[in-house]
């Protein structure tokens, strides 16, 4: 078991012939995940990744020809909203958007459309997700993961690798690692992923990796207190960030006393969550929770 993706995946890569798209598609293939199709408008009929991936002009053609059921996209920001809607209209049930830099008003419309269609989106500005040994979707390095009992969910990219890598180094494997993305408007939020982990019989504990800005961690804390039976260990990046400064991506800004690390940590601890002081502490806390 796992959440969102498993060995039944048949992946289509939108933007497969771009530099990043092709690079990460090769890594995905090398991980053993079936990339059954790629899409690049105007390049239908070609092959990407040394002939391993047939390219189509539209997602609809790719789905019809290959039975793809999940899309991952490396499409530049100006074209990504259209690409997401194209994937949804083609009937895919899960769309993973790696692209960063999509305007927030575009994402508001895209998310409303996907909600209407009942399609799940992970991202944008997400590293993707990975079920060790079963499916790698996106850019998370496969070799830092291993199968096991811990679900990981994170707003961050590389910080997730750091923590997953430390878990693996300590011999603690993962059910699924999910990067929900760092933008203000994202397809899937902490609470939804926590609910999936709670329902997944193989997941025994969850690691939540948050950061300053927004109030998604506070919502997660409420959900954990009210609905979760499994232990959750958390880390919040940005404890020492000065208020009023924008720290990198849109998710990480503190303004007017809301969204600080201190508030988030307090909310999580009040919900019974153990919060690590630095990333490398997480693996030890998880070990304790797993007993």
């Amino acid at each position: 078991m796992a959440i969102l993706v498993d060995q039944t995946i048949r992946l289509v890569v939108q933007g497969v012939t771009g530099r990043e798209g092709e690079f990460h598609t090769r890594q995905t293939l090398d991980y053993g995940t079936p990339v059954v199709a790629g899409v690049t408008p105007g390049k239908g009929g070609q092959f990407a990744c040394e002939g391993r991936v047939p390219v189509f002009d539209t997602v609809q053609e790719a789905v019809a020809a290959t039975g793809a059921n999940t899309s991952v996209m490396y499409v530049p920001a100006p074209f990504a909203p259209d690409a997401i809607i194209e994937a949804a209209d083609a009937g895919l049930g899960l769309i993973v958007c790696i692209t960063e830099g999509i305007p927030v008003h575009e994402m508001i419309r895209v998310k409303a459309y996907l909600d209407l269609k009942g399609v799940r989106l992970i991202g944008p500005n997400s590293p993707g997700l990975l079920t060790p040994g079963q499916a790698k979707v996106g850019i998370m390095p496969g070799h830092i993961t291993m199968p096991g009992p811990v679900g990981v969910v994170s707003r961050s990219g590389t910080l997730t690798y750091e923590i997953v890598s430390a878990l693996t180094a300590r011999g603690i494997g993962q059910t699924t690692c999910v990067g929900i993305g760092g933008d203000p408007i994202i397809g899937t939020r902490f609470v939804e992923v926590l609910a999936l982990f709670e329902a997944d019989p193989e997941t025994q504990a969850v690691v939540l990796i948050g950061e300053i800005g927004g109030n998604d961690e506070e919502a997660a804390a409420r959900f954990i207190a009210e609905r979760m039976t499994k232990p959750v260990v958390a880390f919040i990046a940005g404890r020492t960030a000065p208020p009023g400064k924008r720290m990198g991506h849109a998710g990480a800004i503190i303004e007017g006393g809301t969204g600080t690390a201190a508030e988030k940590i307090a909310a999580l601890e009040a919900a019974g969550v153990r919060v690590a002081e630095h990333p490398e502490q997480i693996a030890r806390l998880v070990e304790e929770e797993l007993g």
């Binding site: 920001a77 100006p78 008003h105 409303a112 590293p127 961050s156 590389t158 924008r246 849109a250």
Partner: protein, 380 residues
Amino acid sequence: MKLHEYQSQRIFAQYGIPVQEGEVATTPQEARALAEQIGCPVVIKAQVLVGGRGKAGGIQWAQTPQEAEAIAARILSLQIKGLPVRKVLVTRAADIRQEIYLGIGVDRAAACPVMMASAEGGVDIEEVARTSPEAIRKVRVDPFVGLRDYQTRYLAKSIGLSPSLHRDFGRIAQGLYRSFVECDASLAEINPLVVTSAGTLLALDAKIVLDDNGLFRHPDLAQLRDIDEETPSERAAREAGLSFVQLDGHIGCMVNGAGLAMATMDLIRHFGGMPANFLDIGGGARAERVAAALRLILADPRVKAILINIFGGITRCDEVARGIVSVLDEVRPDLPIVARLVGTNEAEGRAILERSGYRILTATTLAEAAQKAVAAAQSS
């Protein structure tokens, strides 16, 4: 990207919002001339991209052109939250009967715009939100059907606005909403929106914050960037596509990913050091961007050690290493550098650093890297 009041005001005016028009002066003499032209009393307002200018003395009335000149001179010599005031807006003074607040932003959890109104305008709205949240009325806007007239009527009524003003309030709210969406803004705010003694509505302040991600489709708005308000390093960072925030410490940081960058800074503090900056090179940085980032760190004379922490996913360690070496080849800095490169193409990256012949400290874990950087900064 924040816009100045006068820039936001011009945008609002294009959307039919009644604004107190004015002109910008950069010298006391210009302010005096404008005061003569507009007719006194006038209000002179610091144009600076931080809040709290009222409390800092950045907004003052002048009864005569002479007084306008003197006040402008005073305001133009201010620093507000560390930013020097370089421009003032000179506008006609308004007779104010009532001050309200009207703003629109993004509700992340509901994933839609949210319009807010309050009978308590002209004050710090975050303070109102904290102390009496019930005083702020909100409506969520469906992105597909837009702000509805019934919603603006609800807002007008719930903040106790006179019924005779509901229609004008609705027009202003619609204009604000359209400006917000069409400019790809993340915030648009009128604080205060006043009822004048003549009984009309007038926007006395104007604030727009643009979504940086939307700027590519608004070349006209992108040109409104006030480069006077940026430090040279902020400008260099922006032009290189880097997320950069200058801080006060001694350890220059270069990290890929905002979360990891913050965690790295947290860990430097944890081990007793002080980061000199936040610097996220973003996803998939090429060697050129890495080089620009390193040059930016080296330009800060306070930096005593450098910590490079890269966990490669979409970013490739070989590209990072190439960028580092290219700068070292040209600058040959006399600073300790700790580089931790793991993830995608990490072996190639490490090989490039080793082949370069420069002495670069390496580390396996983040904690180890942070500790080495703190130690190096203390001993150099």
